[in-house]
């Protein structure tokens, strides 16, 4: 057991956790950040995806003890961070997912939306092929991915539209 100092969604939090606990377990069961989901136990499904220094990683394979120092963003962080940045309402990715019907059961989507958010941070207007590749580590069982890809394209289109206007 050690006391970890983690940077989560802009906060510094101290949390005591045994070394064999994953970041996912600490997020969910120590910090109450249950938005990160567990679907497969071992890195096969992507539901536990969080952003580590802006890049998607799997919190079920990442030890909490090795997560100190990095900026960790979970799904709970997107809306507040968007507000902090001067936006209104949810992050445009979250909003687009909702408007496109991409949230059926919603269980895989926190991870999916974070993968999409990372892609959009990295690339201004990714192609459909790039979207598919960026989301190819997040399994969804409800949507057939169609409305998910539409949602990411909508978020991109609106960003491009906003820039141009």
């Amino acid at each position: 057991m050690r006391v970890l100092e983690l940077k989560i969604n802009g906060d510094r939090v101290e949390v005591a956790a045994p070394d064999h606990w994953t970041l996912l377990e600490v997020l969910r069961y120590r910090l109450g950040l249950t938005g990160s989901k567990q679907g497969c136990d071992k890195g096969d499904c992507g539901a536990c995806t969080v952003l580590v220094d802006g890049k998607p990683e799997l919190s079920c394979l990442k030890l909490a003890a090795l997560s100190e120092g990095a900026e960790i963003t979970t799904i709970e962080g997107l809306l507040p961070l968007h507000l902090q940045a001067g936006g209104t309402g949810p992050d445009p990715v979250q909003d687009a997912f909702d408007r496109c019907g991409a949230l059926q059961c919603g269980f895989c989507q926190p991870g999916m939306m974070l993968s999409a958010r990372a892609l959009l941070n990295e690339c201004h207007s990714p192609s459909q092929a790039e979207i598919k590749k960026a989301l190819s580590g997040n399994l969804c069982r409800c949507t057939g991915y169609t409305q998910i890809i539409e949602a990411v394209e909508l978020a991109i289109a609106e960003r491009v539209g906003a820039k141009n206007s």
Partner: protein, 784 residues
């Protein structure tokens, strides 16, 4: 059908719908998008214990003894239970209760539940599981269903009158032999449909809290990731020997189900019992591996079909013999066995039809209902045979289906009532959008187009346990704040049923969807509903919602009319505003209108319900598969076959689906796309099976390969609206039908592409290469 159930298909206010038929956000979409939505494993209660299950390492064995002493002695362990703790058998079908929460005397597959432990944390519970000593006497185990058909000693379920046969159904309608004798073309083949499983991304989870209240028994609350809270409620009462009033079942947000969360499961009973024993809340979260053992997925079916047509392209009859591999327990198997025959009799008319279906037990994870329960497999075989007949008769396969369409407002050969039937439009749409006529037969080598069609139920009038009470109930509370609260026992499993009832009630009451809250799937708070299965929710719960809302609407309109001193017919409500049609200046908010009504009628509330009319054929089993309405689907699939690797790529799918009326086209499209995705996955990638040791061949999301973004075809959803006379505003199901025929459409497209008939699923590249080699050698023989 009682009058209360039929509310017509017209918009409630004027000529146009205000909410229905338009894209809307889901009522819970943003809660899910922001991570606020609470799923079962997100629940943490003070003092909560964690439970784990000990499972059988044997495919078939007698339990000689279980010693839990060492486990109980481990510090941190609070309780250990075995089958002896809960000896009463249950089963989702009341006629076939053959499951125990934990095995009492025998285990029937590797992974069968034997004991459970509640401890302070998961690590301690896991350690305790390893300390339970079980002595087994291994028994002969069955993996081949053919063997279960012939050999009954040992029987997997002792005491079963029919040995290892779980259910047998034989029904004939018309004169099949005579019809086939008179046919100009008869095709006869063996088909195999493999097993597949749901793999909802959310693992099964249950939390129980027993509280001492003023009753002797106390109160048990169970939160479960179930898609049918009502059956869990009933099963808990039976097994735990508690009155139903002492149990409350709550379904939190659910992370996908697809039929895989329909049965009552071991974990629900275990957490309940462990909580009662310890006085502490208890949670059990299954690992992904355990979910593969829980299974209840698609039944493997070995099928033999014989179908014939006359030279003018009329189908004259079809004959099916089906062996169904049920795995180790009955589950919904009685229904599966009927469905394997009963649901084939449309949209193509089969004038003479016979099926002979036998479900057997094997020592494998139990099969059950998966999206398109029981009818995806026969549909696969039959639609390939239709393609073969069309080819043999040199008729375009779409035209062949048109020629044999059963029509609307008719009866199937097995006595099922068909109301609306938009199949012809489905064919037209799929044909046009895929540019079938322009492109079929003209694509490059290795590329092809295939078509298939299907129908599916919108709920069934078979309520699982016989009773005359409503199948769906709704309560609505409206108050002076302007808020509308709907209470529904329906289970939103991600398909959007909570949103659908909100749209329907918002339409009826003229309020904004945002001012409608939905309280769902809580047996203490909500009226009984039979849950999310058989594609019943939109149709049945939707009708109940309209039923309840219409009663309230009447009261509100009456009060406003009285207040304005005008006729009720002169009032319109919509978007949260009440209008006087004769005076554009006169409006009021619904809040004020609700206050008028509350003053006039006292506290406002209403109930609504739905029950099916009398349906079904007049013979034993004739009500199984009888639905108040059927959805219809046509698929065109485009494939590319790589002749060198044997790999089939499904490039694009056009799915035209008759959903009656699209209450929210965005959600309908989502159901269609998800269905197509799942069907394509079954056709090309997924296989749920055991290896030569009876062990699951790969119980993980690494080895059970569900498609990624890169493996999913482009899906074109073509919504067809036939407007069903009895559906809520004309709606029918959209969540299961659109899966069925994509699988045979792919097989038919492969035939178009490279000339091979794939009749054995899944269509692995190895099978394709073998079939191509056989075709080549056949052609060589013909040439020589």
């Amino acid at each position: 059908m009682s009058a209360r159930d039929n509310h017509g298909t017209a918009p409630p206010w004027g000529d146009e719908f205000q909410v229905i038929g338009k894209r809307h956000r889901k009522v819970d979409g943003l809660a899910k998008a922001t991570g606020q939505a609470v799923y079962t494993d997100d629940i943490a209660l003070p003092g909560m214990l964690h439970a784990k299950t000990l499972r059988s390492p044997h495919a078939h064995a007698r339990i000689l003894s279980i010693d839990t002493t060492r486990a109980e002695a481990l510090p941190g362990v609070h309780a250990v239970i075995t089958g002896a703790s809960m000896p009463i058998k249950y089963g989702v079908i009341p006629w076939t209760p053959d499951e125990n929460a934990l095995a009492t005397d025998r285990v029937r597959f590797i992974g069968d539940e034997v004991a459970a432990v509640a401890a302070v944390d998961e690590d301690t519970a896991n350690a305790a599981i390893e300390l339970i000593d079980v002595e087994y006497e291994p028994l002969y185990s069955y993996t081949d269903p053919n063997e279960s058909l012939e050999r009954h000693d040992p029987a997997i379920h002792e005491g079963n009158k029919h040995g290892n046969v779980s259910k047998h159904v034989e029904l004939e309608f018309g004169d099949v032999e005579g019809a086939l004798d008179g046919a100009d073309v008869v095709v006869e083949n063996d088909f195999f449909f493999h097993g597949s499983t749901h793999t909802a991304i959310e693992p099964h989870c249950a939390v129980a809290q027993w509280s001492q209240d003023t009753s002797a028994e106390g109160l048990l609350t169970v939160w479960s990731s179930t898609q049918i809270s009502h059956y869990v409620h009933r099963a808990l009462a039976r097994v735990l020997e508690l009155p139903e009033t002492r149990i409350r079942v709550i379904q939190p947000n659910l992370g996908g189900a697809f039929g895989g969360k329909s049965d009552p499961f071991s974990l629900e009973f275990c957490v309940a019992k462990l909580s009662m024993l310890t006085g502490r809340p208890v949670k059990m979260l299954w690992t992904r591996e355990e979910i593969f053992y829980a299974h209840r997925g698609r039944h493997p079916m070995h099928m033999h079909y014989r179908s014939g047509a006359t030279s003018d392209g009329k189908l004259v009859g079809s004959d099916a013999k089906i062996l169904i591999d049920g795995g180790s327990y009955s589950s919904f198997g009685l229904v599966t066995t009927y469905y394997s025959g009963q649901l084939l009799t449309g949209p193509v008319d089969i004038p003479n039809y016979r099926f002979n279906s036998t479900r057997v037990f094997t020592n494998k994870p139990p099969c059950g209902p998966k999206r398109g329960h029981g009818s995806v497999q026969p549909r696969f075989a039959f639609e390939i045979q239709l393609d073969e007949l069309a080819c043999a008769l040199d008729i375009d396969p779409i035209d062949f289906r048109r020629k044999n369409w059963q029509g609307e407002h008719t009866k199937t050969v097995n006595g099922q009532r068909i109301t609306s039937n938009g199949f012809m439009t489905c064919l037209d749409e799929a044909e046009r959008e895929s540019q079938w006529k322009e492109r079929r037969g003209k694509l490059a080598d290795g590329r092809g187009l295939g078509v298939a069609g299907s129908m599916y139920i919108s709920g069934t009038n078979y309520p699982i346990y016989p009773n005359d009470m409503p199948q769906a109930g709704i309560q609505i509370k409206v108050d002076r704040s302007g808020l509308v609260t709907i209470f529904t026992g329906g289970n939103d499993i991600g398909q959007g049923s909570n949103s659908v009832v909100a749209y329907l009630v918002a339409e009826e009451l003229g309020v904004e969807v945002a001012d409608v809250r939905v309280v769902a799937a809580d047996t203490d708070l909500c009226p009984v509903d039979l849950g999310a299965y058989s594609s019943r929710v939109t149709f049945m719960v939707g009708n109940a919602a309209i039923d309840a809302a219409r009663k309230l609407r009447k009261q509100v309109v009456e009060s406003v009319a009285k207040h304005w001193e005008i006729a009720e017919a002169g009032i319109r409500m919509g978007g949260g505003v009440v209008l006087d049609l004769a005076d554009a200046e006169r409006t009021m908010g619904v809040r004020e209108a609700f206050q008028l009504a509350e003053a006039d009628h006292d506290t406002l509330g209403s109930t609504g319900s739905y029950n099916t009319p009398e349906l079904g054929g007049d013979y034993r089993g004739g009500t199984i598969g009888a639905s108040p309405a059927y959805s219809f689907t046509a698929h065109v699939a485009e494939v590319t076959v790589d002749r060198e690797t044997g790999r089939i790529t499904c490039d694009e799918v056009w799915v035209a689906h008759d959903c009656g009326r699209a209450l929210n086209p965005m959600l309908v499209a989502g159901q269609m796309e998800g269905s197509v995705y799942m069907g394509v996955a079954e056709a090309l990638l997924e296989e749920h099976d055991v290896n030569r040791f009876g062990l699951h061949s790969g119980p993980s999301l690494l080895d059970y390969r569900i498609p990624t973004t890169l493996d999913t075809p482009k899906i074109n959803s073509l919504i067809v609206e036939s407007v069903d006379p009895e559906g809520p505003y004309g709606a029918k199901e959209a969540g299961e039908g659109p899966l069925h025929s994509v699988i045979p459409a792919i097989s038919n497209a492969v035939y178009d592409a490279v000339g091979i008939r794939l009749r054995h699923l899944p269509f692995t590249p190895a099978k394709v290469l073998r079939a191509l080699a056989e075709l080549e050698s056949d052609q060589t023989v013909e040439q020589s």
